[in-house]
């Protein structure tokens, strides 16, 4: 992905305009990314089990709350505005990444507990999503 980002940014800064067929191909192929990612998120949530509700909830609230606080705080401190501010806060306030479970399972660091964290924080974030968006968009 790093190559993609480098190519993309370089092309943007150099004002490159690839031929239309290239852009159309990229656009069509790129269109599968978001749907596949969201479907995968749903499937992952379905297969992970929740254990230790109390600790899981505490840590979920910590992740979401910390994310929100740092998002707003840093954007204020660094003077981020508009779309950059909105996206930064959204990204910071996201629940525990599913990839954390992948690493936990691979290195055997409490995979079950991390799985619960992913599920609980994601479900919790769905509930707080309207509030988050209202704070960011309004």
């Amino acid at each position: 992905m790093i190559y993609a980002v480098v190519i993309g940014i370089a092309g943007n800064l150099l004002d490159l305009h690839p031929p239309l067929w290239v852009m159309h191909s990229l656009q069509t192929a790129g269109g599968i990314a978001i749907p596949l990612m969201l479907l995968t998120l749903g499937v992952s949530l379905a297969s992970l089990k929740v254990q230790d509700l109390r600790n899981g909830l505490i840590l979920s609230v910590l992740r979401l709350g910390l994310g929100l606080a740092v998002g707003f705080g840093l954007s204020l401190l660094l003077g981020l505005e508009g779309v950059a501010r909105g996206v930064f806060i959204i990204q910071c306030a996201m629940p525990v990444a599913v990839v954390n479970y992948v690493f936990a399972a691979r290195f055997n660091r409490e995979p079950a507990a991390v799985a619960s964290l992913v599920v609980l924080s994601t479900l919790l974030s769905f509930a707080t999503l309207p509030v988050l968006l209202w704070l960011v968009l309004a």
Binding site: I2, A97, F126, A138
Partner: protein, 158 residues
């Protein structure tokens, strides 16, 4: 809360729920879904194409790129520091849970939301955040984190 803002919020989150919900039901019904294959497709074909296309088209201020990168780096560092302290106070295993509390779902959920809420420019900036977060969670970065943590522990002992 005005109706217009509510409607806008609904427009943003609806696809997230519809698609994630579909995936959820799909798995619950026991239909075949090889996460590994799908992830490979998304990571090797979908995301790179999306990234190149979005960044090439993006009408993003040059300064925003730098600002976004700096902000992301600071945010991740703060997440890591605060969660390490909090976990110690809660008497929970620090090394097991610090990554979970530090690395948000800036990909599946975050990119989708950034796109739905702010369109292509939002997606472009979201990609920058994700890029840095992906590096930070990678094995090569972990060595840096471990070194920093060791320094921190030494300093706090003195």
């Amino acid at each position: 809360m005005s109706f217009a803002v509510l409607a806008e919020i609904f427009t943003v989150i609806a696809p997230l729920f519809v698609l994630a919900g579909t995936g959820f039901l799909w798995a619950k019904r026991g239909r075949p879904f090889q996460v590994e294959t799908v992830s490979l497709l998304a990571t090797n074909i979908g995301t790179p194409c999306l990234v190149v296309h979005t960044l090439l088209n993006a009408e993003v201020d040059r300064d925003m790129i730098g600002a976004m990168t700096l902000a992301t780096a600071l945010a991740l560092a703060i997440f890591m520091a605060v969660s390490a302290v909090a976990l110690r106070l809660l008497k929970l295993p620090v090394r097991s849970f610090v990554p979970s509390l530090t690395f948000p779902n800036a990909g599946n959920a975050g990119l989708s939301l950034s796109l739905f809420a702010f369109g292509q420019p939002g997606l472009a900036l979201g990609i920058l955040f994700l890029r840095l977060r992906r590096w930070a969670i990678s094995p090569s970065a972990r060595r840096c984190w471990r070194a920093a943590a060791t320094c921190g522990r030494c300093c706090s002992r003195r």
